[in-house]
Structure formats: structure tokens, C-alpha cells
Symmetry: C2
DNA sequence: GCGCGTTCAGAAAGCGCTTTCTGAGGTACC
DNA sequence: GGTACCTCAGAAAGCGCTTTCTGAACGCGC
């Protein structure tokens, strides 16, 4: 019996559209749009009617239609290696906070450390007409990758897309927030030298990552300036994870001439290293000192608390997001440098 | 001189559109669309021409236009309390992995534990016509909140939106992945009783959270069945964070009659509690045992490693995402229960 | 050889908005 | 009182796609 009735208030479709609101308020589409967006002045009584109708129908604008008509969207894309890595999680927190303050929605993509997936996501975000794309996480020193990435990013930027990166990306002409990895790693080296260490090992991630090469380079260079050299077989490469750190430390213990101090290029790796050393009966710091990098929140709660280089992770996320939200003044890309601070905690002591 | 030339290959606008591809391939818009989507058979030569044109112009479809025209999108919304909390980070990892496998884009929102922000985000995700909305993180036992949330979610579901939650949401009629908080907390209580403990304290988060009330309830109930009662002043409420755990434990030490065993309702709080106990010279586990809940990755690396209830966090993320990707068979909401497993580590021992 | 059914390309109608253009009505000024 | 100007509501033209509808071309059976 009621088959032919349909929805009365709306034009018989699933969603409440602006058209429905306009109809109910007895105004034109244009007026309804203007009221809801505050685009221009509308007579008070019409205004009221529109607002009332929108509320009554609980109207939700169709963001796709808005994006299509106005060719601008309220979403930004963020690409990171792995959300569950505390480093990214902390940065993401800052990103999200700033995004929320500006009413932006964040599309977050994890590449699970697959460079090709990173490029794929840029394409998807382009398709979504994301207002901006943020590349969180290290760049790759790899010609092919740089070329493919550039091929996606260039047209995106030419059509008004904003791009910003956290960490150094060699050849991308984009805005960037740059932690001073090289300099800070050097400062850490000097602090450890001051403690009296002369015999070091370094646990690194894949060297193709700019972050790794900067930290490793800065560290060994500063040591070199003090006349200290790291034995080649004391530089151990593993994956950029807790388990990578564990394996690298285990491998280190298998080699000759134990160092007095180990530097893991990230805190996450240091956590694994600490576990490995404990499991193999090497006391930290009495038998071996250990230092990390990043100052992710958990490291102060380890036993012993970890010496590290503190980076203001959450603030870095806020800044990189802030970068794409602010209009660029000049044409050239903006660079914001972020200093790291060496924090000596109990995981490092004067060697015996 | 070249001012009047413009772009030749494209119709003189910023983006390459399907129209441009069709023109270059000398076919109609419809044909180009059909080729690119594989919607229906197209003669081989036309097909080739379209593909070639698309590649040459490096065409990227406008996802908004697609969404508008086909009224379906490739994005899902995920709402959590805080990405930087290891619990959510782990779950998010699973969510992202499954999303990636299905070519879905994830819009992630952090509420920073503000219930009203949660509702705001649902509205935004509705506007974005997200294919599904995932509520990760505890529900609130709060009538007003439930009503507002229902008011957003109901119309969304009626218009074809999928909703799934992780954790119990009392009155929402939605698909759910439910960690067995109550039962597992009970199992933990029994395990601690077996160790010989009779004198407990519980550090909880806000009791309006279903997760908190389930874990606290399950724990005390199981103790009650063994004739053990937790003193009212040994149940200490604090915020659901590391620092909340720290404060709660500090407060506990200020009160009378120290318990032999402390249960923090999340690992994150337990980490703070552990730090507090250490700072106040209370040795764990010799002077006081400590247990957590969740088994976030880091707790095995603490000193001592934390006794906890292991939840398959990443798998839970995968399952909740899987829920919304699979067509519902029946009309009623689907429930997937997830068991927790008690893992006794070194942070708990037989009391002296 | 003619009618019929198929197959597949193209025309065109939206999807739900924003925004320009148009014009009605009012105000100010001479 | 008439002209010029301004304000603001409505009509309508897209935004870039998908999909239905239309119709041409072809193959087949009788």
C-alpha cells in the first residue's frame, strides 16, 4: 500500500542533498549553498530557513561533490613506513593534531617499507586530489626511485598540490623539515668520546636510507676528527626494527674485539640491542655502553634508561603539517631544520 | 609570444581528464571509461588506443568525480583515541595492512580522547562518503554520547555505510570484534591467585570506558569468587596513559597497607606504574608484583618483562577491517570474539 | 532476402555541489 | 521623477566521471 509513497521530505533518494534543503527552505540551490558556506550575504530570514531545514533534515554535504565543484579538498595524505613504529606514531600524533586544528582529514598510508608501494600511494593520493602529501620517513638514495617519485610528484605540484617531507630526500624539490641527523650524531659521538670511549660499534639500518647514512656518517666522521676509527666489522647492518637491532647486536657479540660502546642508529633498534645484550649476559652499561637516536617516549622507561639524541618528534609532525598548510611565500622550497639534543642517561658510562 | 598557445594535448586545464584521453585516442568518453574500468568489452584496437593515450598523458582519474558518479568510494575511515598509543598503533598496523590488500585508502582520525570529537569525525567521514567507518577503542558508557553517536551512525548505515567497532559499545547495533576483556581479566586474576597473592590493587582508567569497566569488573569478580576482595582505596583511577599509570602507582604508595600485587588495566599504564615503583624504591617483583593487559610489543623488553594478557592486536585490526570488507550475510550484526591469553613473565612472583 | 537478436560505440543524462551570470528590487543623488 | 548604482536571490553552467539509453552494424535462421 505504501509502496508508492517514498520519502516525502527528500527527493526520494538515499542521501539528503542540498537540493532537498533548498526545497524545504523554499529557496534556490545557490542561496542554500551560500548560507551553508557563508560565501556571501543572505537575507536574515532566508538564512534562518536554510539553517533550520539543514538541521531538520540533518544534512551532510557530499564532500566529493564539493571537491569536484570547487576543485579543492579538505584532506591531506600522509605516507609513512609503519604506523606501529613509535617514531612514526609520535610524528603522526603531531600531524594529526595540527590537521584537526585546521579541520583537515588525514589519509594515512603505511608502505611497510616497500619503496614501490610508496609511489603507488602517491598516485592514489593524487587521484584523491589530496590538498597536500606528506612524506614522513627517510628518503632512499636510489636513482630509480627518485625518478619514479619525481614523476608522480612533479605533475602533482604543478597542478597545485603541496608536498612536504620529513627527513632528507636528495633530489626532491619540496618543502622539508630536516632533523639534523648528521650534526646530532656527531654531537653524540663527541659526548661518548668525552665519556672516555674509544672503541665503538654501530648498528645500522639499510644504508640506502638517507637517515641511516646521515647518522652513520655524522657519527663516524666526528669520531674520525678525534682520531678514532670504527672497525669495518663493527658496523653491522640490519633491518630498521627492534628485531633488526636484536640480530645486529647478537652478530656483534659473535665477532672479535668487543667494543666498549654501541651506537644503534635508532632507538627502536637500540631496544632490540639491549634485549640481545641482556640475553647474552652482557651487562649494560657496566660491560658495554649503548646509545640510540630519536628519544621515542619509551626509552626513558627502559632499564637502564637509554642515552639518545632527542628529537621533538611530535613537534616535527606539527611543523611538517604546518608547512603545507601555510601558503608558500616564495617559489623555492622551504626548509626547516630541527636540532637534536644529546641526552646522556644511564645506558652509557665511562668505560672501565 | 607563446602566450596564446596553451596546452595542446589537454583541453587547456590543469588536470588531464578522461575527456582528454578520449580525445587523444579518438574515441568517446564512454569508451574510454569502459576501457579503463574494464566495465565491458571494447574492440581491441580502440582498447589499445585508449590505454596508450592514458599512459602518454599520464592520466590519473579524479577520485571525487568517480565517487560522485558511481556513488562509491575506495576509502574507509578509522577513528581511534590516539595513534601514538602503542595499542592503537598495533591495531592500526593490522587495519592498514588489510586495507592495502584491498586497495583501500584509510582516513585516520585521532580524537585525543575527546568523545565529542569522535562524533565530529563520524560526520566528516560521512561527508567523505567513506565506504566504512571503524571505531577502534573503547566505547563510553554514557547515554548522551550513545545517543549522539547513534544519530550519526544510523543514517550512515541506512544509506549503505558499514560500521564496525573494536571493543564493546553498549548500544550500537554494529559489527564488532570483541576482545574478551572480562573473561581474560578473570583468568589473569586466577593466575595471580594461584601465585599466592591475596592482596591486590588495581590501577584503572576512566570507568566510563567499557574496556575499563570490563577489565576491572572481570578481575574483581574472579577474585571475589575466590573470596578475595580488593579494598576500595586500592582501586585508583587515573588517565589512560603512561603518566596516568605513574600517578596512580604513586598515589597507591601513599595509601595504607601496600598490596602484594598491582594490576594495571593496560600495559601502557603498567609501564608508568613500573617507573613509579622504581622511582620510589619499590622493587618489582620482589616487593610488589605488577601485571598489565594488552601485551603491546614493548613490554617483553621491560625490566622485568611484564606479566600481561596477550591480545592479538594486529590481527584484531585485520579482523575488524575484514568485517567491513566482507558483505554481511544476514541482517544482524556480526560479532567476533577474541580471546586473551595470560602470559606470566618476571614482573609477577609468589609473594613473600 | 528479410526479420530478428546481438554486440558494442557513442550520445546524453545525471551524481551533488559551487560559482558566474542575470536580473529584480531598492536606494541615493541630481 | 528619473537615472545610476548597489545588493542580493535565482537560473544555469559546469566540475569529471559512470551508466543508461540509443542506434548502427553485423550475423544468423528461415
Amino acid at each position: 500500500m505504501s509502496e508508492a509513497v517514498g520519502e516525502e521530505r527528500t527527493g526520494d533518494h538515499a542521501y539528503v542533498t542540498l537540493q532537498d534543503v533548498a526545497r524545504q527552505a523554499e529557496v534556490s540551490l545557490a542561496t542554500a549553498s551560500r548560507v551553508l558556506n557563508g560565501t556571501s550575504q543572505v537575507r536574515a530570514d532566508l538564512r534562518e530557513r536554510v539553517l533550520a531545514a539543514a538541521a531538520e533534515l540533518s544534512y551532510t554535504p557530499n564532500a566529493h561533490a564539493q571537491a569536484l565543484a570547487s576543485s579543492s579538498s579538505k584532506s591531506v595524505g600522509v605516507i609513512c613506513h609503519d604506523v606501529s613504529d613509535p617514531y612514526f606514531a609520535a610524528v603522526a600524533r603531531g600531524v594529526m593534531r595540527t590537521a584537526a586544528e585546521h579541520g583537515m582529514l588525514v589519509m594515512l598510508a603505511s608502505t611497510f617499507r616497500d619503496p614501490s608501494r610508496e609511489i603507488e600511494y602517491v598516485a592514489m593520493l593524487r587521484a584523491q586530489r589530496a590538498r597536500a602529501i606528506l612524506l614522513i620517513g627517510s628518503g632512499f638514495e636510489d636513482r630509480d626511485w627518485e625518478r619514479s617519485m619525481g614523476a608522480e610528484l612533479d605533475p602533482y605540484q604543478r597542478t597545485g598540490g603541496r608536498v612536504a617531507v620529513l627527513s632528507r630526500h636528495r633530489s626532491l624539490k619540496v618543502d622539508a623539515v630536516l632533523p639534523q641527523n648528521r650534526e646530532s650524531a656527531g654531537a653524540l659521538a663527541r659526548a661518548l668520546l668525552d665519556l672516555g670511549h674509544r672503541d665503538f660499534a654501530v648498528l645500522t639500518g639499510p644504508r640506502a636510507l638517507t637517515t641511516v647514512s646521515d647518522r652513520l656518517g655524522g657519527f663516524t666522521e666526528a669520531l674520525g676528527e678525534a682520531g678514532v676509527r670504527v672497525r669495518e666489522d663493527h658496523i653491522i647492518e640490519a633491518s630498521f626494527t627492534r628485531d633488526g637491532g636484536y640480530r645486529a647486536a647478537t652478530e656483534l657479540l659473535r665477532r672479535e674485539n668487543r667494543p666498549t660502546c654501541v651506537f644503534a642508529v635508532t632507538d627502536v633498534m637500540a631496544i632490540g640491542a639491549l634485549a640481545a645484550l641482556r640475553d647474552h649476559g652482557v651487562a649494560v652499561p657496566s660491560e658495554m655502553s649503548l646509545a640510540g637516536f630519536d628519544d621515542i617516549p619509551i626509552v626513558r622507561d627502559l632499564t637502564p634508561p637509554l642515552t639518545t639524541v632527542a628529537l621533538p618528534l611530535e613537534a616535527m609532525g606539527e611543523r611538517v603539517m604546518g608547512l603545507v598548510l601555510r601558503e608558500p611565500v616564495a617559489r623555492r622550497s622551504r626548509i626547516e631544520r630541527v636540532d637534536g639534543h644529546v641526552i646522556l642517561r644511564d645506558s652509557t658510562v665511562r668505560p672501565r
